[in-house]
Chain length 192, copies 4
DNA sequence: CATGAATGAGTTTTCATTCAT
DNA sequence: TATGAATGAAAACTCATTCAT
């Protein structure tokens, strides 16, 4: 196995185990075994457990940002851009349940709290500037309701996260049509 | 300290520690110290850690249910009842940050997963029959949008939870007027 | 409940629990509950756990000695006296399984070791002078084989204990006739 | 220290401590210290305390079986084979006092009871098929007295165990000649 | 006298991290 | 560079004993 491959395996193993079993259910030894490497090897790629966990989160964040930008264009009309971001995010979550579960584990843990404290930002999706930019624009141009930015975020993304969770837990089955209808409802909530 | 006082102190200490530090940050010894009792004393009131954690959750649930029923009347118009439940819940969360944080910790943990599995329900507020009843009525009478119940729940309560979290973390400051406006927006999301 | 009754109940409860579950399975609180008294009450009758356990043993020993003397007479012929002691002891054990189990637990424990150390004696039945006396007589009068006393004890009582254990554990079923035959065999072992 | 050495040290330490102090007197930390290893190291070789204790017992049983087979031959006359087994067992016990004490501790403990329950056998020496086989043969061929097998076992091995115990505790001093004489006496007890 | 709630020392076990190979 | 055996601190839990009522 080549060097980057090893790192890859560790990341994959850690992500899956933590997503499925929580932080409790993923001790370093188990991650190593699942990754097919020695326990000590993890420490060649990640200084310690905390670093591993935080880097995992950042990798997911990067994937989310990439997904959001795919097919996104500042030229399109505001509503369309909005729907694009909403549906893309919801679709990302329900097609990447491991990533989603990990993010949830992360946010509800000492790691997530520390992370949030650092950011002092407040978007529940995690540092996606493209979203923030669009919301700010919508407020400026009075397309969106006259709420503080954070509230608009919560009104729009609160349901997205809840729905993704319920889909992944099997309480509902979201198909593409439903995703569209839902995000349109969310849009109605925040638009003026 | 009288007997019920001791149980009370343990509950309070456990609740605060877990809400603030998560389950990791609240070992039994620390809970005992914070409560001003011996380590073994906790086990006189709670069979083991799991029981303690689950009873804590149930106490909060009882408090929520009590709050929701206060001032609630089946005689009032549907919309008014809806707004009552939404504002009451949001107000409860932001005035009981410890309870709220605990509930979040709980849901995102092996305990919460097991709990959900038992319920097979899917409302993110936790066994509040009065809420479920009202939503079912709304669907029947075609007052609410034609979505599965679970989705309506998520559309309505997803934002509530997100907003409560951001308020508690200090990202926003929700006053009574804002609470009213927000819940009205949520109502617009789900009503036909 | 009168005072001696309470002591009696404690003794009975402790004996049964320890006999059935071993020392591990009989914490003071459980003994108290089984006896129908408060946990602290035990300490009015026995200074501490060790004292209780040792007194329990001594009570059994007294019962054994009493049994051995019943119907025993120095006037009878040697062989008859011998058979009397052997059959009486074996009968006592299999009709008092709780006492027997307790004695076994006791001997194989720190308590028993300390007890033996104190005695520096060596009879495996526990300080029964009538037995010792008879054996010494048998050696003197050359009725018994020319072995040290301790060895004669072991040859005679080793089987008795093993058989009692197997009877109580249900591996064999000893009736009166069998008891007679067995003890006669043991007699053949030690007699000249 | 090489890997098997460490396991060896743990086994030795546990065996000695338990033999001398009983199960109570041998907590894992003490075993680790005595073995010169870290507390956690024990768990690399034994899943938990129960496993350690049971494996210890099985190792001893293997040693006993090995000893019994040494110099044993189905060709030799019955009586000779009998004496071989008896003397070998007694010799093994008095030259391996730690093993003997451990076996006694084991049998008189929840471990031993569970173990016996599994076996449903009833020989007090512990699964030594060679012994059982010989006894069965003796019964068939009417060389031994007409007793159930279990009783013959107890008549023969009851004294052996008692004698070994008394030798180890220092109440008697068994030399080779005495061992011979004793086992011959035991033989007289069971032979027709 | 009797009680039983309270205690905290002591037990088993886990797991992040190190370091000799 | 990779390994995985070894570690020991920390966690949950038990229980003999005390002492206020």
């Amino acid at each position: 196995m080549s060097k980057p491959d090893k790192r890859e395996e560790i990341v994959r193993a850690a992500l899956e185990l933590i997503a499925e079993q929580g932080f409790h259910g993923a001790p370093m030894a188990m991650i190593a075994e699942q990754a097919g490497v020695g326990a000590g090897t993890i420490y060649r790629y990640f200084e310690n457990r905390d670093v591993l966990i935080n880097e995992l989160y950042q990798e997911i964040e990067r994937r989310i940002v990439t997904a959001l930008h795919q097919g996104y264009s500042r030229e399109k009309p505001f509503r369309e851009r909005f729907l694009h971001l909403g549906t893309t995010l919801l679709r990302f979550f329900i097609t990447s349940p491991v990533d989603f579960r990990y993010v949830e584990q992360f946010h509800n843990s000492p790691y997530g709290v520390a992370f949030r404290r650092d950011k002092l930002l407040g978007d529940s999706t995690g540092g996606c500037d493209v979203i923030k930019e669009l919301f700010e624009l919508g407020v400026q141009q009075q397309i969106l309701k006259d709420f503080p930015l954070v509230i608009l975020f919560d009104l729009f993304f609160g349901p997205v996260v809840s729905l993704a969770r319920d889909h992944i837990l099997g309480f509902i089955e979201l198909d593409e049509a439903m995703v569209q209808r839902i995000i349109e409802s969310c849009w109605d909530t925040v638009r003026r």
